[in-house]
Amino acid sequence: MNKFLCAILLATPLILVSCGHSETADEEAAFVVSHDEIVQSFLDNEQESSAKYIDKIVQVSGPIMEVSKENGKIVSVMISSDDFNIVSCTFQHPIDPASIPADQITVKGVCSGFLGDAASMIPGGTVELKRSCLISE
C-alpha cells in the first residue's frame, strides 16, 4: 500500500507537467457579451476590464469580419461590425468551414487581453480570445 501511495505521489507532478489544456467547450462561460460590449469595456477602462475578463472564459457574439484558414480548416475568426474594434478568436481545434454560419457567430474562449494604443499606427482595439470553440445557436 505504501509503495502504491509513493508511486502516485511521484507520478502526480509528472502527469501535471505533461497535461494539455482543458477543453473550452466543456467549460461554462463566466461572461456572455456582445462584441461591442467587451471592446467598449476595454476602451473605457482597460485596467478594470483586464481584471474582469482576462483568463476567464467569455462567450462573444457578433458579425464575422474575417476568417483565417490553414489546410482548408478555419483556425481563427475576427468579429467586428466596423473593422476597427474587433474580437479576435483563435480556435482550440480547427473548424470545418461548412459549420461556420454565414454572418453572425457566437464563440467561447479564454480572454487573453486587449491590444489597442492611441500611440500605435494600428487603428482601433482588439480583444483576443484563445482556445475558442464555436457555439451552435
Partner: protein, 185 residues
C-alpha cells in the same frame, strides 16, 4: 471662418488618406519563440501579432499580447505567464522603430535577399531596450511579407529565471516573426 475650417478638414483628411495609402498592416501575424536546451525544448506560438509598416516614413512596429502565446502544456503556459513574464503586470511585448535603409529597399523593389534594418525600441516585461532587428520586407502582389528572426536574452529584460529551472531555459531565446501586411484602407 467656415471656409477656413472646411479647408483645414479637407487638407487633414487628405493627409490621413495619403498616410493610409502607404501603410500596410495585419492583426494576424505569427510570432514564435523557441528555447532549446539539452534538458528540454520550449516552443510557443502567438498567431495574433499586430504589425504595421509605413512605407512613406519607414516607421515599423509590432505588438503581441503575452497571454496569447499558446503552449502545448498547460502548466508551462501558466509558469511562463505567472513566474517569468508576469503578464498580468506586463501584458504586451512591442517593437517600435524605423526601417533605416528604406530608400535602398524601395530602389531595389523590396527583394527577398535584402535586409531591412529595423532600429527602435523593444519593450518586453516592461523594460525598454534599443535594438536593431534584421528583417526581410518583400513585396508580394499588393501586400508586403515581413519576416524577422532575433534572439532575446531574458536577463536584458529583467526576467528572472529561478536556479531550479535555469538549465531548462536557454540563455538566448530565439524569436521568429512572420506576417503578411495588407494595405490599410
Amino acid at each position: 471662418m467656415k471656409k477656413f475650417i472646411l479647408a483645414f478638414l479637407a487638407v487633414f483628411s487628405l493627409a490621413q488618406f495619403s498616410n493610409a495609402q502607404e501603410r500596410y498592416f495585419t492583426r494576424e501575424g505569427n510570432v514564435n519563440f523557441f528555447s532549446a536546451t539539452p534538458v528540454e525544448n520550449i516552443d510557443a506560438d502567438n498567431k495574433k501579432l499586430q504589425s504595421v509598416v509605413d512605407l512613406a516614413s519607414g516607421a515599423f512596429e509590432f505588438a503581441a499580447l503575452i497571454k496569447s502565446f499558446e503552449f502545448e502544456k498547460a502548466l508551462m503556459e501558466e509558469h511562463f505567464n505567472e513566474n517569468y513574464m508576469e503578464s498580468n503586470t506586463h501584458p504586451k511585448a512591442t517593437f517600435r522603430g524605423k526601417i533605416e535603409n528604406l530608400d535602398d529597399l524601395k530602389a531595389k523593389g523590396y527583394p527577398s535577399d535584402a535586409i531591412a534594418k529595423a532600429k527602435g525600441t523593444m519593450t518586453i516585461h516592461g523594460v525598454d531596450k534599443e535594438v536593431e532587428l534584421p528583417a526581410h520586407l518583400v513585396k508580394d502582389g499588393e501586400n508586403y511579407k515581413v519576416t524577422c528572426k532575433f534572439t532575446v536574452n531574458p536577463e536584458d529584460y529583467k526576467i528572472a529565471i529561478p536556479n531550479a529551472v535555469r538549465d531548462k531555459i536557454a540563455k538566448e531565446i530565439e524569436v521568429s516573426v512572420d506576417a503578411v501586411l495588407n494595405p490599410m484602407k
